[in-house]
Structures are given as structure tokens and as C-alpha cells.
Symmetry: C2
Subunit: 235 residues, 2 copies
DNA sequence: CGTGTGCTTGAGTTCTGTCAAAGCAAGTGG
DNA sequence: CCACTTGCTTTGACAGAACTCAAGCACACG
């Protein structure tokens, strides 16, 4: 169940048996969500750390006029913030984009890790630091790049994250995002996303169906995106 | 020296004497920088956590064509990532925007805090979580808002951060950012920033000189920015 | 008092957004 | 197995926000 997380942490360090068994015991209480459900809502008091076991979710925030910004994706093996429980209220929501299974990890479990499993605590802190680097890089992506490069960049990132978690070995990944989702992620309109996707397809860089994304020419896609994977901190 | 940090942490919890004296003892080794110097450079191996004691700095990343994105500001009392030292290389740079004094906190000091000062460790983790919330909110700002709202939003945020760290009691703050800096922060060009700033001045929302920003009408500025301070997690 | 850095302005361009309608694919129910 | 719904994608015509290039200005500083 937690193998994708373990795979991801391997990019930082090799975990010992003790740590691995602790990790495997983490998903005590799990919960099943339908597509489009809120795992946690802005304003709510966070009482547990969430670990994605299945499906996609996103961090998002809605403006009063109904427009929405997606600020991050959570896939299999991703933890939402290790220390959310320190906050008295969430400043954003987490919503599923597909049917999903999520484990709830209690504050006590986290505390226990920090007390008795220093190696694991370090590995998880590392993972949080990488998540923050990803968030920061999204600012660069939206702030500096053209629509075409933004989309290409997001695709490159998700492919590498899939690879890092051992969810694919080639350049084909699940792609449950609608064009509206992509627009809300990249600061564009869905109309424009549509036109740019067509351009990427015309250039034979990708194939994209409702369920699957394939980078036909990953190197070419990276070039369009000006992609540099340093911020993902992969081994 | 570390009072701004202490002020900031007060928004999470009241620290005991033991924690306060630990905090005050932190800035062992400090370093002075000129305006525009790099505190740490992309690619470098981070060996210490930096704490701003004086001046402004920014997190930034440069593209191969020379264009740059600023992804965050560090002011008096701000810590760069608590766990940077876990990374083998920086994925962005930190550069001063004014003459600045920075304390270097060793990995050992951080470890000691996590071992012997659990309350302080929690407070610092809280602070890091808030920093992440700010980073995420910048994505929303750049992705969803018009130029005018973006600029107004950044100004509101910096004023509240100044207030939270006890660096101002009204709505006047230092503003060492050039229009080019603002442009690099908000995904705009400096020419456009200039025109929008004029609009904000015309509306009597702000005065802005080379050194100082005043929100003449903070409520009005917040309105233009659609500003909601929930993400700053102030008490 | 020259020099440089940062600010301001103008004219023309382009990228992306808006609005509105139509098309298509997948699923549902009769 | 076919109408019907629903959600998502595609297209077109037009508008506007922000960019580019280029030049001039102003103030701080040595």
C-alpha cells in the first residue's frame, strides 16, 4: 500500500527494516472517496495528516467569484503537509480528482516517528522539503513561461513524479485532469489550453486521451518546457 | 536580534523562558552582505540554515535566457527552510536585495532543538508550514489575478508580515524592491508594473517612494487585491 | 557635474481571454 | 439497442490585457 511512498523516499536514503515496518503500519484508518469529494476544506481544523494510497487529488483554493486555482497535485504515495496539524485551520482545500483512497495518519503517529524513528523523520522531512521546492517551481512555471511551455512543463513533472514513485517505467502515465483542471492549474483558460494541447499533439510530442498521457518524445517535450529536473531532487 | 522571529512565533504559541533563551543564542555566526550578493546559489550544497537579522533577501531562480523569477521574500526574522540541509543541492538561489545581516544556524543546532526543545521545534515547524502556505498562495496570486490585484496583494502581504514580526505598527513599511523586482516576482514586465503602480497611486491607495511603501487606504487596497489573510495564520 | 540605475512614456504588437455555439464520447435508462 | 443526458472538448470571431521596443527623464552618488 505504501510502496510508492517508499520508492519516493529511496531517492533520499535507503531505509532500514525498522523504518520500513513503521511506514507499512502507518495507514491505520483509510477512507474511500468518490471523484470530486473534499478530503479537507478551507477553514477546517486539520486533525490528521493525509497519505494518498490510490487516485489523484489536488490542493485548491476558490475565490469569491467562483474561479479556482489548483496549487498542487497529490498522487499515490504523496503526503499532505507533515505538520498541517499545527495549523488551527486549513488555508486551502484538498479535493479528489478521481475515486481515491486516503489514509489518515494521526498527529501522535507523526510525533512518534519524530521521537523514535529519527531516520524516518529525516526522510519524511526531506520529502516535505522537496514538495515545497515543487510548489516554488510552479511559481516560476506560471510566472515566466508561455502557455505551451507551462503545459509541457507540468506534463514532464508528473511523468517524473510517476517514475520516482515507481508508478510507471516509461513515459506513459494516468491523466485524469480535464482541460478545465489544467487551466485552473496553469493560470490559463480551458479554451486556450485546448488550442495549445492541439499544438503539442501536432508536434508529435504527446498523445493525450481522457485517461492517459504519453510523452512520445520526452526529450522534445522537455525542450519545449525548458525543463530541468533539479528541483525534484531525484537520485 | 531575533526579536522579529520571536514576535512571529507568538502568533502560534507563547514560548517559555528556556525556548526564548535558546532562540536568542542561535545567531552564533553571522555574516554581512552587500546589496545584490548571493547568500546561497542554485546547485550549491546547503550546510546551514539561514536566519535574516537585517535587510531583505529573495529566493530566486534564473532561466538560461537570463530571465529571472522571484519566488519569495525573506525579511528580518525569516528563516530559510528548516530542513534545507537535508538537500544535497539547492534548487534555487537566495540573494540580498539590500545590505543584509544573516545568521548561519548549523544543522546540529536544529537537531538539538528537535531533540531537547520540542515546543520550540513545534513553533518553528509551524512557521515553516506558514511559509509554505505563503508560497502556495503566490501561485494563486499569479495564476488568477490581474496585474493590479497582484501588486496590491503583494503589498498587503508584506505589510501584514511586517506587522506580524513587529517591524511596523501602521501600514508603512520599507520597500527596497525596484519595479524590475516586482515584475520578476509577479510574472509581469517592469513597464507594465510601472503603469499599474501609477493607477494605484491615482486611486489614492498607496504612496511609494524608493524606500518606503504606505498603504493610504489599507482596506481599499485589500479590496483591490481580494485579500484574505487566512493563509498567513496570524493570531 | 557626469554617470548610472531606475522610472516614465508612447506606439505598435501579440498572446491569451471572452463569449457563444456546436461536436463528441461515455454512460443511463427505457 | 436506441433516445437522452451529461461532461468534456473543439471551433470561431472578437476584445483586451500585457508585452516589446525604444527613447527620454530624474534623481542619487561619487
Amino acid at each position: 500500500m505504501v510502496d510508492p511512498l517508499i520508492n519516493k523516499l529511496q531517492h533520499y536514503t535507503d531505509l532500514g527494516k525498522k523504518e520500513l515496518s513503521m511506514l507499512r503500519s502507518l495507514p491505520g484508518r483509510t477512507k474511500r472517496y468518490e471523484k470530486g469529494e473534499y478530503v479537507i476544506t478551507e477553514g477546517e481544523n486539520p486533525v490528521a495528516v493525509h497519505l494518498m494510497l490510490e487516485g489523484w487529488a489536488c490542493r485548491c483554493k476558490m475565490l469569491s467569484d467562483g474561479r479556482e486555482q489548483i496549487m498542487g497535485y497529490l498522487i499515490k504515495g504523496d503526503l499532505c503537509d507533515l505538520h498541517v496539524t499545527l495549523l488551527s485551520h486549513m488555508d486551502h482545500s484538498i479535493r479528489t480528482l478521481t475515486p481515491a483512497t486516503v489514509a489518515m495518519i494521526s498527529e501522535e503517529s507523526i510525533n512518534q516517528i519524530f521521537e523514535d524513528y529519527p531516520d524516518l523523520a529525516r526522510a519524511l522531512s526531506w520529502s516535505m522539503t522537496v514538495d515545497e521546492a515543487i510548489t516554488r517551481h510552479w511559481i516560476l512555471n506560471i510566472g515566466l513561461r508561455t502557455a505551451e511551455a507551462r503545459i509541457a512543463h507540468l506534463f514532464c513533472e508528473m511523468i517524473l513524479r510517476y517514475q520516482a514513485s515507481g508508478l510507471t517505467r516509461d513515459t506513459t502515465i494516468d491523466m485524469p485532469l480535464t482541460q478545465v483542471n489544467l487551466a485552473e492549474t496553469l493560470g490559463l483558460t480551458s479554451v486556450h489550453v485546448n488550442r495549445v494541447l492541439q499544438r503539442l499533439r501536432q508536434k508529435n510530442l504527446i498523445t493525450l486521451t481522457r485517461k492517459t498521457l504519453t510523452a512520445l518524445d520526452f526529450e522534445g517535450l522537455k525542450e519545449v518546457a525548458e525543463f530541468n529536473d533539479i528541483y525534484l531532487h531525484l537520485r
